[in-house]
């Protein structure tokens, strides 16, 4: 009998497969295609204290082996999330992780307070979105700023706090260490890599915003390297993500040192991707003789 459950900061997940924030909304759209109760958890799209309009279109561009997005965290705000989305998600037997975003430390703290005493399992602090002009990645690329925002949010939070890290840094372990020191209970990585697409015919950037976040299989080697580096350096559970399309991809992240994984862009290629990753990972465990997730470890010679 295979036990796929994992524990992250005291929260038990039935399996280590979550959805990546921003790719799964609050689950409703994908619930047409599979039972959300199969998921270890749903990490919802970034929620801010007040509604955010997002960036002008075009917001997405396909690139080799992946895509760019510059959605800019368009969302209806915490109040609406609590009213419309959370009750829906709670009908399913899955963990609910709320990704939170802000322009300033005060806004991050404010949305954290709005989510106090709500029926959610964990918070994920988004200090790595490359598509907002203030806040977002600006916090996640500087260790002292990371520490300040993590500390403020950890203080206001009544749930364990995951800090989502940006890959757009020289040394991700430095940021991870700052987050750990300031009260993070877990880390998730990677967010998207800042990229650009140019249309040679029109001689213009494809995205209205110019730059956007690269995701999809193209980023997987970078993500695996960063998960591996961070897992060796920091003693916090890691949720690994970046280009996971299959159960084998998920296994690679667990081997790199992640305790759980998240599936994102794959869902745009196949709406049942997250569920398929769970089945694929289970097959991998069976074939490899693993009975539990923590047994999945790399061999070093």
């Amino acid at each position: 009998m295979i036990d796929m459950s994992v524990e992250i900061a005291g929260v038990r997940f039935k399996n280590p497969v979550l959805t990546a924030s921003g790719t799964f909304a609050s689950g409703r759209e994908y619930s047409e295609f599979f039972d959300l109760s199969r998921l270890g958890g749903v990490v919802v799209k970034g929620v801010s204290a007040r509604p955010w309009e997002g960036n002008p279109p075009p917001r997405v561009a396909e690139v080799y082996g992946g895509m760019l997005n510059s959605v800019g965290l368009q969302n209806g705000g915490a109040e609406r999330f609590l009213r419309d989305d959370l009750p829906f998600l709670r009908k399913f037997d899955t963990r609910v992780v709320v990704n939170i975003c802000g322009h300033t430390i005060e806004e991050y703290a404010e949305v954290t307070k709005q989510l106090q005493n709500s029926d959610i399992d964990m918070l994920e602090l988004n200090i790595s979105c490359p598509n907002v002009s203030e806040g977002g990645m600006a916090f996640g690329t500087d260790p002292s700023m990371t520490a300040r925002v993590v500390e403020a949010v950890a203080k206001a939070a009544d749930k364990p706090l995951i800090v989502k890290l940006s890959p757009n840094v020289t040394d991700i372990t430095e940021i991870a260490r700052a987050a750990a020191g300031a009260g993070a209970s877990a880390l998730s990585l990677i967010n998207t890599l800042l990229g650009m697409a140019i249309d040679a015919k029109t001689r213009r950037p494809v995205l209205a915003n110019g730059y956007g976040g690269l995701s999809g299989p193209a980023v997987k080697p970078v993500a695996l390297r960063m998960v591996h580096q961070t897992a060796r350096a920091i003693d916090l559970p890691i949720i690994g993500m970046g280009g996971i399309m299959t159960g084998l991809d998920a296994a690679e992240f667990l081997l790199a040192g992640a305790r759980a994984v998240a599936v994102g862009t794959a869902g745009f290629n196949n709406p049942t991707a997250a569920a398929d990753v769970i089945s694929g990972l289970e097959n991998y465990m069976e074939e490899s003789g693993f009975k539990t997730i923590p047994e999945i470890k790399m061999i070093y010679n």
Partner: protein
């Protein structure tokens, strides 16, 4: 704790390409055997068609041109513009997701409908024209060589930008001259044409429905990638559209 799977109205399936003809340069007229989708599709909705090529992740949104629920077949007409659509144009079997988008609510539509289509915006209007009574149809194309589907409509007047066939000008110019009494305009085509339709509708004091396009990822409303600017903020083309009221769209950008 209950386990809920929502009401299934969007279906993903592998379907056979029953026929495929290049009807103009790089424009393919393809019939798919997709009974589960054909049974529930409305005029004006679209499909996501996947390449299943590892380097091209995103589906291609392609409008549904005709629906035959009885035989379970869907017709799509699209331009093989880039590598992705070119690959789709060569397939004999493909993966499709649909029906997507709001489409037209033909049951609530009035009697005197003016249909205006431009270029690759013409295909979704064909199914609409079959579901409403005696529409007046005006179609526009760049030139005679790029004309498509004009003979599939029971009755349609055609314009070309260069005057190589029919009226010289666009479909709105032609409608302005020739249209008789109407109380609703339904249009699909390039943005400048839709903007002109919005102006025409405004002049005539009638509502207009326009089908818009935007770069798209998920197609089901989750990623918020395909928005257009409307008077009530950014709205998703994939689920709030592709059909919008023309007076809701912010055209000046």
């Amino acid at each position: 704790m209950e386990s809920i799977v929502g009401l299934v109205i969007t279906i993903q399936l592998q379907c056979d390409v029953v026929s495929n003809t290049e009807i103009a340069l790089d424009i393919f007229d393809m019939t798919l055997d997709a009974p589960e989708i054909a049974r529930v599709a409305h005029a004006g909705q679209f499909l996501h068609i996947f390449n299943d090529s590892p380097d091209m992740l995103l589906p291609r949104p392609i409008s549904i041109c005709a629906i035959d629920a009885e035989s379970g077949r869907l017709r799509v007409v699209f331009r093989a513009k880039g590598a992705g659509t070119r690959l789709i144009s060569r397939k004999t079997r493909l993966r499709a997701l649909g029906p997507l988008g709001n489409g037209y609510d033909t049951s609530s539509m009035s009697k005197k409908i003016l249909i205006v289509g431009g270029g690759l915006g013409v295909p979704p209007l064909l199914e609409l024209s079959r579901r409403v009574a005696e529409p007046q149809v005006f179609l526009g194309f760049r030139d005679e060589a790029s004309m498509i589907l004009q003979n599939d409509f029971t009755e349609a007047e055609t314009a070309t930008d260069d005057g190589s066939f029919g009226f010289c000008g666009n479909a709105v110019d032609l409608a302005r001259r020739k249209a008789r009494d109407f109380d609703l305009i339904v249009a699909c085509g390039p943005k400048p044409l839709l903007r002109a339709v919005a102006g025409f509708a405004d002049e005539k004091g009638v509502p207009a429905l326009v089908s818009v396009e935007e770069r798209m990822a998920c197609g089901i409303g989750a990623c918020v990638g395909c928005v257009i600017k409307t008077k009530s903020g950014y709205r998703k083309v994939c689920v709030d559209g592709p059909v919008f009221r023309a007076d809701e769209v912010v055209w000046d950008d």
